[in-house]
């Protein structure tokens, strides 16, 4: 009989659990209730502002109409799977974001290392300067790239003066390189923020122990520091890569490479292909979730601490 119906015990247990949540008697039950109460506001918001829109977006990708969700059609998904241009965009996005992330994280390691280990003059100013671009929206970053690498750009003209070639030939703001600089410009501060947190927790005594045992600074870094900051590097990589994928304003202005965000804008702006935009958005969101959870497996505790 217990096969068909939940046994009396089971029932009692589940009723008990609900009741103990509402009228807790043990400290542990009270604690559970608190956890739920404290997480609730966030999840209410995440539901209305995140989960529901994502579901509606999934529905949008299957709509037969582009102006509203009406009817059902797989056309958008078919286009997405068959048109080579989408594969190209996916590829562009991935390789570009990956390279930019690797470079940014590497620079982040160097910056955090120097800030933590060496005492430089005006260190507070340096730290503030490195963090500044976190606040800048992508469009402003694009402008910064033009200031540096445009035809009238500082770097361009400095190089032009030294090499004697024409500034126009040297300008790279709107090329893939310029865009790359834009990505790095946005990402280095983010990577540095994570890594600075990690570096603060590096056991400097262990590093000193290594030095006293005969390791040069480089050997010390390789044998002691690097293994210790490895989880931080992975966390920085995850965060930075996610940011790289989300960059939009910079590409919108510089237009140097067809990446996924730009394509979404294009689908909407030209032809209002909301189904395709929705489909791309869904693939993108799913990829992000999968990437994050796979990435987190490489961080020892399975949680990111930034």
């Amino acid at each position: 009989m217990s096969r068909q119906f939940p046994s009396r015990d089971q029932l009692r247990q589940s009723i008990g659990r609900t009741r103990s949540m509402a009228f807790p008697t043990t400290e542990r039950d009270r604690e559970r209730r608190r956890i739920i109460i404290m997480c609730l506001p966030f999840f209410v918001l995440a539901t209305f502002a995140g989960f529901v829109p994502l579901i509606v977006m999934a529905r949008m990708s299957l709509s037969a109409e582009n102006l509203e969700n009406a009817g059902w059609s797989l056309a958008a998904w078919e286009t997405l799977l068959t048109e080579p241009v989408y594969r190209e965009i996916a590829w562009n996005t991935l390789w570009f974001a990956t390279v930019a992330t690797v470079v940014s994280v590497a620079l982040g390691v160097v910056i955090s290392h120097v800030l933590e280990k060496y005492s430089l003059p005006l260190e507070n100013v340096l730290v503030a300067a490195v963090s500044f671009p976190i606040a800048l929206p992508g469009i402003v970053v694009a402008f910064m790239v033009i200031v540096l690498l445009g035809r009238q750009g500082l770097v361009t003209n400095a190089v032009a003066v030294f090499t004697g070639s024409s500034a126009i030939d040297l300008a790279t703001a709107t090329t893939v390189f310029g865009l790359f600089l834009g990505y790095v410009y946005s990402l280095v501060p983010r990577a540095t923020m994570v890594l600075r947190g990690t570096y603060a927790e590096v056991d400097t005594r262990a590093e000193e122990a290594a030095r006293s045992l005969g390791a040069t600074p480089l050997e010390t870094f390789y044998h002691v520091t690097l293994p210790e900051i490895r989880p931080g590097i992975v966390a920085a990589f995850i965060l930075t890569f996610r940011s790289a994928l989300a960059i939009f304003g910079t590409v919108l202005i510089l237009q140097a490479l067809a990446v996924v965000t730009l394509r979404i804008d294009y689908e909407i702006g030209v032809g209002f292909n909301t189904q395709i935009a929705g489909a791309i958005g869904l693939v993108y969101a799913l990829f992000l979730i999968a990437f994050t959870f796979v990435g987190l497996r490489f961080v020892s505790k399975g949680t990111v601490e930034i």
Binding site: V52, M57, N69, N124, L288
Partner: protein, 304 residues
């Protein structure tokens, strides 16, 4: 044990000689190791270079906004406030819609997002720092690495809440979700620097109910973190572009759209002035953060 002694003493002595010839001979040399001689300056220069790349365009843009002409590499004709007057709404030409209405609107919306962030961010940061529970890692990941970036969120919002497109409410909610990681992280960082369990237990043993403990003991201890989180989420929301661009219908247009129009279609110096308005806001934010113990625009509190 004794055997070891006799046995190893001799060994030890010989090995000591070996070691000494390896390292000891260099005692008197004041030569610093290669990585010290080359590595350190290289790293320092990489940092300086990176910082220069990050900062120089900002400074140049700011300075240029006071120039009267910029038809060559170097802006000329200092000092004029013409472009600032333009962007602040006293000019006559160009993108004549000035920054003020948009900025006012964005300031209000960002403030709304910030307040909402306090409401959702502080409790979850507390729950995550204070308790261990089954889905802890999962919730933590969700709270500090949200699922959707701005552009996607924008697209999804278009269809989900068509009646509220570009309304302040949608922007507030969107900004709140997009920037909530910064609030959660800064507050968590605050909580981690105090012994939250013991504090709470002290207060409760002294007779404070749990909600009262949270409000009168825990929250004040995280005050700096909450304030820093507010500054950061506010500043970021004040110029959020990706999401805004997707959902705005504007009335007035958010500040970031004003920036966008200035960057995508306005004379160079005017763009510079428009952007510089925002630079001033960020510098202000950094100065306040500094007072709160965060060095720079970051969720890390160095003042632990």
């Amino acid at each position: 044990m004794t055997e070891y002694d006799t046995n190893s003493k001799a060994e030890m002595e010989t090995r000591q000689e070996e070691l000494r010839s390896g390292t000891g001979s260099k005692w008197t040399s004041t030569r610093r190791s290669a990585s010290e001689r080359i590595g350190r300056p290289t790293l320092v220069w990489i940092v300086y270079l990176t910082v220069a790349i990050l900062v120089v365009p900002i400074l140049v843009t700011f300075v240029a906004s006071f120039a009267s002409t910029a038809t060559g590499v170097v802006p000329r004709g200092f000092i004029t406030f013409e472009h600032w007057r333009h962007v602040l709404g006293f000019g006559e030409y160009g993108v004549r819609s000035n920054a003020i209405p948009g900025l006012t609107f964005s300031v209000l919306v960002a403030t709304g997002g910030m307040i909402l962030n306090v409401i959702i961010g502080v409790p979850i940061a507390y729950a995550l720092s204070r308790y261990e529970f089954a889905a802890h890692n999962w919730v933590n990941t969700l709270a500090i690495l949200p699922v959707v970036p701005g552009v996607i969120l924008g697209i999804a919002f278009l269809r989900t809440y068509p009646d509220y497109r570009g309304s302040a409410l949608v922007l507030i909610v969107g900004y709140c979700l997009l920037k909530s990681p910064y609030m959660v992280l800064t507050v968590q960082s605050s909580f981690q620097s105090i012994d939250i369990v013991k504090l709470e237990e002290s207060a409760r043993s002294l007779g404070a109910s749990w909600p009262r403990t949270f409000l009168t003991v825990i929250v004040p201890h995280a005050k700096r973190g909450i304030l820093a989180g507010c500054i950061i989420t506010w500043t970021l929301a004040a110029a959020e572009f990706n999401f805004t661009y997707m959902v705005h219908t504007g009335d007035p247009e958010p500040f970031s759209m004003f920036l966008f129009r200035n960057i995508s279609n306005a004379p160079y110096l005017q763009s510079a002035a428009a952007i510089s308005i925002y630079f001033c806001i960020v510098v202000g934010a950094i100065l306040i953060l500094q007072l709160l113990g965060n060095r720079g625009f970051t969720t890390l509190n160095d003042d632990r």
